[in-house]
């Protein structure tokens, strides 16, 4: 009987001890409760909660805190939230959105499919662009193009990027939230940010000279300056053997004409009806 008494005593004392500790914790949680700023909470509820970092802060809460403390008054930093979030944030904070900013989406500046682009060697290894890039800057002859192994596909927080099946990737502009993670992760820099309402796009990233580009890819910009010279109002500028199209200011005539005149046909329309 004495043994059972001891067991009971142990059981009871442990239970009481545990209950006391639990009570202590409960009291402590009341006393040490962190007063969360209601404004921050409200702002945080409006934000989409993806924590993608497109706003430049470490997650949605960071942005909400910055807005609440008025250290940041720009309410159009949130790409994923779009206009809706902007409006709600504006209502809450009494600020108006900066209307001049257009949503930016990622776009692949490369047309070097398996068919179009020459490969220097066969890459067998970890299926990751970063890893392929460690070996002679990738298997493609062109060192500026898409490696097609999909580091960006894996990194995209919303799954907006997909493989095309012929050695490239494609961004779905509807899904793209403009967080620029793919731009940062692409080892060749072939991913670029373009305004959502862009009309034409130079889909090449090669700074090689014409002869080199031509020998490596049938769809590469050779820097022939036809777009720049023949269509001076269109906004094409060729620097470092690569044409770039400006989207700021007035979009003059000849943007479509240049695409037709482009010898390698690397200027592509963005909207189908154009």
């Amino acid at each position: 009987m004495e043994g059972i008494g001891r067991i009971l005593a142990a059981f009871l004392s442990t239970t009481v001890f545990a209950a006391l500790l639990g009570l202590g914790l409960a009291i402590a949680s009341r006393k040490l409760k962190v007063e969360k700023d209601e404004k921050v909470e409200a702002l945080n509820d409006i934000l989409p909660g993806l924590n993608c970092g497109a706003c430049g802060y470490a997650g949605c809460e960071g942005y909400a805190e910055a807005l609440a403390s008025e250290s940041d008054s720009n309410i159009s930093r949130c790409g994923p939230g779009g206009d809706e979030t902007k409006e709600e944030l504006g209502n809450l904070l009494g600020l108006s959105a900066d209307e001049s900013s257009v949503r930016m989406v990622a776009r692949l500046a490369c047309l070097g499919t398996d068919e179009a682009a020459v490969k220097e060697f066969q890459y067998v290894g970890y299926s990751d662009c970063e890893s392929a890039h460690l070996h002679f800057d990738g298997d493609k002859g062109c060192k500026y193009g898409c490696l097609g192994l999909g580091s960006c596909v894996k990194a995209c927080p919303v799954g907006a990027i997909d493989y095309t099946g012929d050695g490239l990737v494609v961004v779905d502009p509807e899904k793209c939230i403009g967080c620029e993670i793919c731009v940062d992760i692409c080892p060749t820099g072939a991913m670029k940010m373009v305004p959502e309402d862009a009309d034409w796009f130079v889909a090449c990233n090669s700074n090689d000279k014409a002869k080199v580009t031509k020998s490596l890819c049938t769809a590469g910009c050779i820097g022939c300056r036809i777009c720049e010279r023949k269509f001076p109002d269109a906004g094409y500028v060729v620097t470092d053997n690569l044409s770039t199209l400006s989207y700021t200011g007035e979009r003059g005539e000849g943007r479509a004409g240049a695409a037709t005149a482009c010898p390698p046909k690397c200027i592509i329309p963005i909207k189908k009806e154009d």
Binding site: S13, T14, L21, G24, L25, A28, L32, V34, S131, L134
Partner: protein
Amino acid sequence: MTYVGIIITYVFISNLVLSQFLGLCPFIGVSKNTESAVGMGFAVTFVMSLAALITWALQHFVLIPLNIVFLQTVTFILVIATLVQLVEMAVRKYSPPLYQALGIYLPLITTNCGVMGIALISVNKSYGPMESFIAGLSAGAGFLMALLFMSGIRERLDTEKVPRFLQGTPIAFISGGLMALAFMAFDHALLTNLIGG
């Protein structure tokens, strides 16, 4: 044992992870990148030092006088878990930057067996309060070191071609095992040679 002896023992010779195989869950779980490994390492160090001290007090002021040492394990678990929760609340309230750095890892280690392990080891070796504290601190430092090494290895492993059946945790365990083997080189002879006893 001198303090230096205790530090060398728990950082190198009886490293919690590499020679006693305690605290393996965070060792495998949080060693995927260096940043979180360091955060976790410091959080564990912090909790281990405190837990070693608190359990020493519990052992000598409550369990031994009341002659209920057989309740040691249960009460240690209770006290350590409560302590960690309490520390988390206090840190969140009084030091937000520290909470940002360590806080998210604290709930993960409420019942880390490494923490429990060092508390029991210090009690079994009948260390004094300061010795217990130093033991906890150095065991935590050893854990931090092991986690840091492991995260380095795993970051390199990410870009290597690993056979499919070994990808992820299996190759991590194998690498960890090899590292533990290397740590076998530290034994008590080292201690004897270094500090003469």
